[in-house]
């Protein structure tokens, strides 16, 4: 008998999803929606787009269920990396999922989230500078900074996810921080380090 235990681990829910249980997929969506959405919001220009990317990430997880990799029993690292790829390849992803996504009506036009963000950051222009600098980085640097610093995933977790050694993760992170530091004209050692270092 299938139970819908909201406290069940990702691994347990995922095994039920793979057995064709839709409610378990719904629980995973409830659990990780906001984090995937916030992550996507950094990568795209609008709130609605970030919502679309979030939905596409979950659809992609279901489509590629045999390839989804749980790290420490959690599906969130895979979802975040997939969000990165989805945001990068939005056109291709849209071709695959647009028909489904279009079933969900878009909200009435509202100000772009960047306006909201900018308003909030107006009081602290340095934050805006950091945001701009982050968006100016290449996607590999954005990815490693997002996962290690902003999402505070450990080097072994990120390494397992990206298929590289933890040491290589640290090197990539160091380089990304250096480039971010150069853009901001600050000492990269003063940038947030994340949990891993």
């Amino acid at each position: 008998m299938i139970t819908f235990d909201a406290g069940a681990s990702d691994a347990h829910l995922w095994s039920q999803v793979r057995a064709g249980n839709g409610q378990s997929f719904g629980l995973l969506f409830d659990r990780h929606r906001d984090r995937v959405f916030r992550y996507s919001l950094r990568l795209v220009r609008s709130h609605v787009e970030a919502e679309d990317v979030t939905a596409m990430v979950f659809l992609e997880a279901w489509r590629r269920q045999t390839r989804v990799r749980l790290v420490n029993d959690s599906v969130i690292p895979w979802l975040l990396v997939t969000a990165q790829n989805m945001a990068r390849n939005r056109l291709r992803a849209a071709l695959r999922y647009q028909r489904l996504i279009n079933k969900v009506p878009r909200p009435e036009p509202t100000p772009d989230h960047s306006d909201v963000v900018l308003e909030r950051l107006a009081a602290a222009s340095s934050h805006r500078t950091v945001t701009d600098a982050f968006r100016g980085l290449n996607s590999r640097d954005q990815e490693i900074l997002s996962l290690c610093v902003l999402e505070e995933l450990s080097a072994p977790v990120v390494g397992e996810l990206l298929g590289i050694a933890p040491g290589a993760v640290r090197v990539r992170l160091m380089r990304a921080k250096r480039r971010l530091g150069e853009t901001l004209d600050v000492d990269s050692s003063k940038l947030p380090s994340g949990e891993m270092l």
Binding site: V17, A19, G20, N21, G22, Q23, S24, F25, G26, F29, D30, R33, D34, F37, R38, L41, R42, H47, E51, T54, A55, F58, L59, W62, R63, R96, L100, K103, V104, P105, R106, P107, H113, V116, V117, R120, H127, V130, V149, L150, E152, P192
Partner: protein, 182 residues
């Protein structure tokens, strides 16, 4: 807490509920959306495969062709041709009618291999020469004693004329030419 936690993460509630319902439906085994999604998924696999199959079939179709212009034959000295269609050898144009009762018009070249073999035997073709023909006047050996390469294969040029090329049955494909039907 990171600075990005300050970004308002307000997933539109109504959209969230709709997306959730959609995802549950997609993942629920046997639901209409699940069946449809699986069909689409299969299409993404099957359609490209079908395109490849059709492409290969089309390639096979165009790989054989009939000789539609029998007024000339391209006799190749070597199995070479550049992108402009230039090859080492010569083009033998149609014979003028000379027999009694002929109106002097063109006589179709029915046996392309025989024609080119004659040119080889007369030393009108030379595989070692850059342009495929011997220096000096051609047709100089009326004894027909020069070697004729074997095998010679008939291919079809893009303009529909026959091309007789030293080499086996795969030589047409190697030069991007169609093989003759039949």
């Amino acid at each position: 807490m990171s600075e990005y936690d300050e970004i308002p993460s307000v997933f539109t509630e109504s959209r969230s509920a709709s997306f959730r319902a959609l995802l549950v439906d997609v993942a629920e085994s046997g639901s209409p959306q699940n069946r449809r999604f699986r069909l689409v998924q299969r299409a993404w696999t099957v359609v490209p495969a079908a395109i490849v199959v059709v492409g290969l079939s089309a390639g096979a179709f165009f790989a054989t062709q009939d000789v539609t212009d029998q007024n000339s034959v391209a006799c190749f000295a070597r199995a070479e041709m550049d992108w402009r269609g230039v090859f080492p050898g010569t083009i033998a144009t149609s014979l003028k009618g000379t027999t009694d009762g002929s109106d002097g018009g063109t006589v179709p070249i029915a046996d392309a291999v025989a024609l080119c073999s004659d040119l080889w035997a007369q030393h009108a073709l030379d595989a070692s020469s850059p342009n495929g023909t011997p220096p000096g006047p051609g047709y100089n050996d009326r004894t027909f004693s020069h070697a004729v390469p074997s095998p010679l294969t008939v291919c079809v040029m893009k303009n529909g004329t026959a091309a007789v090329i030293p080499g086996g049955s795969d030589v047409c494909g190697q030069l991007g030419l169609a093989s003759r039907i039949g």
